[in-house]
């Protein structure tokens, strides 16, 4: 998809040293109090004078040609100031760009934000209105007449792949197939990736397990619905306040979609009420800008929860086949996976990422991965925390569990015998650098959790996960203020709420001051160079690389000030423990200068102290984790209760350990939700029927057990403090771990997620049909 890593990218080798701030507890989390008291400003809290309210008219059909759109009656409604449809947006050529962890194609992006020829899912936007009140905007939507020619639709990924399935895009000829297919289909891409010879590998196996798994589409479930406020000035500048994980990327997309110069778009990311990859894509932003341009008024748009479900996110539902073989002594000889991933209405699922993660916990000689990226009449898939990985891990970790069982080897021991380590050749290209997978398995073996005896109908499951850490473009600026405090301006959106603390701590470590003297400030697009999105667990890892570089830049400036004051050369000054000091006794007997002292002298010795960095971070170290879960299954109702849960993960170096654990708790909770109840449900018309939190069941607090987390630290060799990305790995194992635990509890294997009570009860009853009611 993209180019190979740049040879001009930035790496800073790990610098082992005693740490004073990193790994401790900051005095506070700077964003926390305002969030708790309700004063933090999210996009929906932004209000501008004269603001209008924008609403979107959405398709009720899963698949239909748009024959005509008549907005005349809506435009005449008093209070309506602008209406936009496909005619207000330029068509786009095929052009790919990175948007978070997934690639986008502008031809599709413009069609997703506003349908052109066709509507492709229930909830697909067909028009938008700006009016003086929300009530008038809603009334206006009802006055828009859209004439549809309803077409047959397809929701299920396997059905969408069949010859004769309704075809969504007449110009979609499967890429990756030679010769080019004669007919269009819903298979956008067929990909293969291999290492060694799987056939030969399977011949060496004493046991072969082959299974098929199905998973449902699940939504990121962020609490904050998408919201945007746009102000298009008479000077032709668009200002946007929005809920985003990447304001610079959004700026570029808004500019492209509206044919504007990037310099004329300013995006301010607001506090984010959760993203998890789901806020990597523009939905409302270009519509709000265009409505503002037409109405010459600021326009605010906020999705309802129903709209969030029907038209944003979700992750790919999948159909996956996994086949693995092992010798009697527990060595995996070959591994095969076929991965069929829903992309939603437009090409571009998480397939490519899932293909990277599929077997990358194991040191394998023979691997074949085949994947299909499949469109169907659902909302376009967005990234969701380790996109694509939990679903394929369900399959692979399930088959691994069955292999271990067949060979009578403990599941952790089986994984240790096959564990990936430094130097392991991946099937997709690179060899792994120093990683901590084995360390997580070894630590898991020591968990007290494993010593707790299980009762009747209780079972224990183990599963593991791998996720890479993205580098990419990152910029930061630091200003040493007149009083010696530091302000760090960063451009990786603080999606976790922990990044501000982490950056403050890292700068404090660099400067030898306390973290409360450093304030990390999120930027808008006008104050920094480009930053890629916060995606791929890069926020703290890549973000801190830029912050470290910028701080060292400022330190050089401080050394310059000391040198000028002392009348020595700059290389005769060193910065240690928060002070500029003479590099040696031969330099002279000068009193060390603290950061506040240097700040005071800055003006006279040439001007304020600042530092900045604009880098492309490369070669970040991946993360690995091992999860153990205990469940109890109610055999009469099929209800699965998660009793206890342990997470062991390699953080490289936990900058703010409490918050690292918080990330793991959150990810495991999401994974438990996927495992137990979460799924998109459709009626026979292809309309989503559970577009709300009542019937799309994310777990509530009482559904979750205490989530025990243990941090393993195997430093990332390519980060000055050894930091690895931590946010995504822990959502990967839960589905598989819970499935394995259900088997341990009941003797019944489940191959379809979610493990909802009716499904579990049916599976149990199929095995024991005569079981009495109680």
């Amino acid at each position: 998809m993209g180019r190979p890593p740049s040879p001009f990218g930035t790496m800073i080798k790990y610098e082992p040293k005693a740490l004073h701030v990193i790994g401790g507890k900051p005095t506070d989390r700077p964003d926390a109090i305002d969030k708790v008291t309700g004063r933090a400003r999210y996009a929906a809290d932004i209000n501008l004078p004269g603001q209008l309210f924008g609403k979107v008219l959405r398709s009720p059909h899963a698949h239909a040609n748009i024959l005509s759109i008549d907005v005349s009656a809506a435009e005449k409604l008093p209070g309506v100031k602008a209406v936009v449809t496909r005619d207000d947006f330029p068509d786009m050529e095929v052009e790919y760009a990175a948007s978070g962890e997934l690639m986008i194609n502008f031809k599709d992006v413009t069609r997703n934000m506003m349908a052109r020829e066709k509507v492709l899912y229930d909830g697909h936007p067909v028009a938008a209105v700006a009016a003086t009140s929300e009530a008038i905007a809603k009334k206006a939507l009802k006055l828009i007449k859209v004439e549809y020619e309803v077409l047959p639709h397809v929701i299920n990924v396997v059905e969408a792949m069949q010859p004769g399935a309704p075809v969504l895009h007449d110009d979609m000829f499967t890429r990756g197939v030679e010769p080019k297919p004669e007919k269009p289909s819903n298979v956008a891409l067929r990909m293969t990736s291999k290492l060694g010879d799987v056939e030969a590998g399977f011949k060496k196996a004493d046991v072969i397990i082959e299974r098929e798994y199905n998973t449902a589409a699940t939504h990121q479930g962020y609490i904050e619905p998408h919201a945007s406020v746009a102000h298009y000035t008479d000077g032709g500048v668009a200002e946007v306040w929005t809920a985003t994980q990447g304001h610079f990327v959004f700026r570029a997309q808004i500019a492209k979609l509206l044919k504007m110069d990037i310099s004329k778009v300013k995006v301010t990311p607001c506090e984010l009420g959760g993203g998890f990859g789901g806020k990597n894509n523009v939905y409302l932003e270009p519509l709000a800008v265009k409505l503002s341009q037409k109405s010459r008024r600021p326009v605010k748009m906020v999705m309802t929860r129903d709209e969030v479900f029907r038209a944003s996110g979700p992750t790919s539902g999948t159909n996956v086949k996994v086949k693995m073989g092992a010798t009697k002594d527990g060595k995996i000889t070959a591994a095969f996976a076929e991965m069929n991933y829903q992309a939603g209405a437009f090409a571009g699922s998480s397939l490519g990422l899932a293909a990277i993660t599929v077997f990358t916990r194991y040191d394998l000689e023979n691997v074949l991965v085949v994947g299909h990226d499949v469109v169907c009449n659902r909302p376009k898939v967005a990234a969701y925390r380790a996109p694509g990985a939990p679903m394929i891990a369900f399959g692979v970790e399930g088959v691994v569990d069955e292999l271990a069982e067949a060979l009578k080897i403990d599941p952790i021991e089986f994984r240790l015998r096959n564990a990936a380590k430094e130097g392991t050749q991946t099937h997709f290209g690179p060899k792994l650098a120093r990683i901590g997978y084995i360390e997580t398995l070894e630590r898991a073996k020591q968990l007290d959790h494993l010593k707790i005896p299980l009762g009747p109908n209780q079972g224990r499951g183990v599963a593991t996960g791998f996720w890479f850490t993205l580098g990419m473009e990152t910029s930061a600026t630091i200003n040493i203020n007149e009083d010696g405090t530091a302000s760090v301006i960063f451009g990786t959106v603080d999606v976790t709420g922990g990044m501000r603390s982490a950056f403050s701590m890292i700068v404090a470590e660099e400067l030898g001051i306390t973290a409360d003297k450093v304030r990390a400030i999120p930027s808008d697009t006008s104050v920094l160079g480009f930053n890629f999105m916060t995606a791929g667990s890069r926020g703290t890892t890549a973000g801190s690389m830029a912050v470290v570089k910028a701080t060292r830049n400022a330190i050089a400036r401080m050394c310059e000030i000391a040198a000028r004051k002392w009348g020595v050369d700059q290389d005769q000054v060193v910065f240690e423990n928060g002070h500029c000091r003479p590099a040696g006794s031969n330099v002279g007997d000068f009193e060390p200068l603290s950061v506040p002292a240097l700040a005071k002298e800055a003006s006279y010795y040439g001007g304020t102290i600042a530092g900045h960095a604009e880098i492309n971070v490369v070669n970040q170290g991946p993360g690995f984790g091992t999860h153990v879960v205990d469940v109890e299954v109610d055999r009469q109702t099929g209800a699965v209760k998660v009793l206890r849960y342990s997470i062991v993960q390699d953080a490289g170096k936990a900058v703010f350990p409490d918050f690292v654990k918080g990330q793991w708790h959150g990810a495991a909770a999401q994974g438990i939700g996927m495992a137990l109840n979460e799924e998109y449900l459709y009626n026979d018309k292809g309309q989503m029927i559970n577009a709300g939190f009542l019937d799309y069941r994310i777990p509530v607090a009482s559904d979750l057990p205490y989530l025990h987390a243990e941090i393993v630290e195997v430093p990332n060799p390519n980060h000055p403090y050894g930091v690895r990305g931590v946010g995504e790995v822990p959502i990967i194992p839960p589905i598989a771990a819970i499935a394995n635990a259900i088997y341990d509890a009941t003797g019944v294997r489940v191959y379809e997620q979610p493990f909802s009570p009716p499904r579990i009860l049916a599976a149990l009853d199929a095995v024991a049909p005569k079981m009495a009611a109680e």
Binding site: A135, Q636, I689, P699, V700, D703, A773
Partner: protein, 291 residues
């Protein structure tokens, strides 16, 4: 939406007059935990919303000859916190406790839960199996009807235009009586019953069952009473064999649909499972054991 009229009359008569006169859709607002949600979700577009919270006499919980009476605007929390009532009617309290979050229960009323007419309303099966009477007032005067006669189908009640439920009368149970309500939901809370079962049991001094009632929620177009429950339990010590019979009776009474919340097969089976579990709790309570 812009034409919505809100009224908060001071008397029941005024409320009835407003509702009787209205030409379009009307809604009665007590706790608002259903009405406001439905309004915001554009599920309803009423012409008139009549807030009954300001009507004196519709609130409170009190003793009356032969039973308890609580008003239409008494909230779930008021019932839960009322020592005498909650002790006497643990089955009703089981149901009330399951309605929404703590915040929702602080606003929501049993009358609203009943008149919203969801087949899955958690407080309704226990009201039915406990023989609770609803007092209904309307343009043609006052009438007392069993709660089981109120809901007629999803979103539908037997109340005539202009009629409102003003209070409930809960007749005292004989000594050695116990009640319980259990529901099944995929989530532990903040969910809608996939199956709900309420059981009331009365024992004689020897521990033999002399009366038993059962009501089921979410397994038919409305909450239903299961008269055959008495046949399964009366005359028994509510032993394993009797409970198995009760389970079979519960399953047989179900006429559910497949929907997003559960399948027919699942509901029928789980109704039986819950019938046994609920009856076991009711039995304990009848014996004066731990709740």
């Amino acid at each position: 939406m812009t034409d919505l009229r809100y009224e908060a009359p001071a008397t029941a008569d005024a409320a009835i007059a407003l509702l009787a006169k209205a030409t379009g859709t009307t809604r009665i607002l007590a706790g608002g935990t259903d009405v406001l949600v439905q309004l915001h979700a554009d599920m309803i577009e009423p012409e008139l919303v009549v807030d009954i919270k300001r009507i004196p006499g519709l609130n409170g919980i009190s003793r009356e000859a032969g039973g308890w009476r609580f008003g239409a605007t008494a909230t779930g929390i008021e019932l839960m916190d009322h020592e005498g009532f909650s002790k006497a009617w643990p089955g009703i309290i089981d149901g009330v406790k399951l309605i929404g979050s703590m915040q929702v229960k602080g606003r929501a009323t049993v009358a609203g839960n009943l008149c919203n007419a969801s087949p899955a309303a958690d407080s309704v099966p226990p009201l039915m199996s406990s023989g609770v009477i609803a007092t209904v007032v309307g343009p043609n005067g006052k009438r007392d009807i069993p709660v089981s006669d109120v809901c007629t189908g999803p979103g539908k009640t037997s109340l005539a235009k202009g009629e409102i439920v003003t209070s409930f009368f809960v007749p005292d149970a004989p000594p050695h009586s116990g009640s319980a309500y259990l529901r099944f939901t995929p989530r532990t809370e903040m969910d809608i019953a996939v199956v709900g079962v309420s059981v009331n049991i009365t024992l004689d001094a020897s521990g033999t069952c002399t009366a038993a009632t059962m009501a089921l929620g979410a397994v038919a177009e409305k909450p239903i009473l299961v008269p055959d429950a008495a046949k399964a339990l009366v005359g028994t010590k509510v032993d394993e064999a009797a409970l198995d019979k009760l389970a079979a009776v519960a399953s047989a009474a179900c006429r559910p649909i497949d929907d997003k919340r559960g399948t027919k097969i699942f509901r029928i089976k789980v109704a039986g499972v819950l019938a046994k579990r609920t009856a076991a709790i009711a039995l304990q309570r009848a014996k004066g054991g731990a709740k």
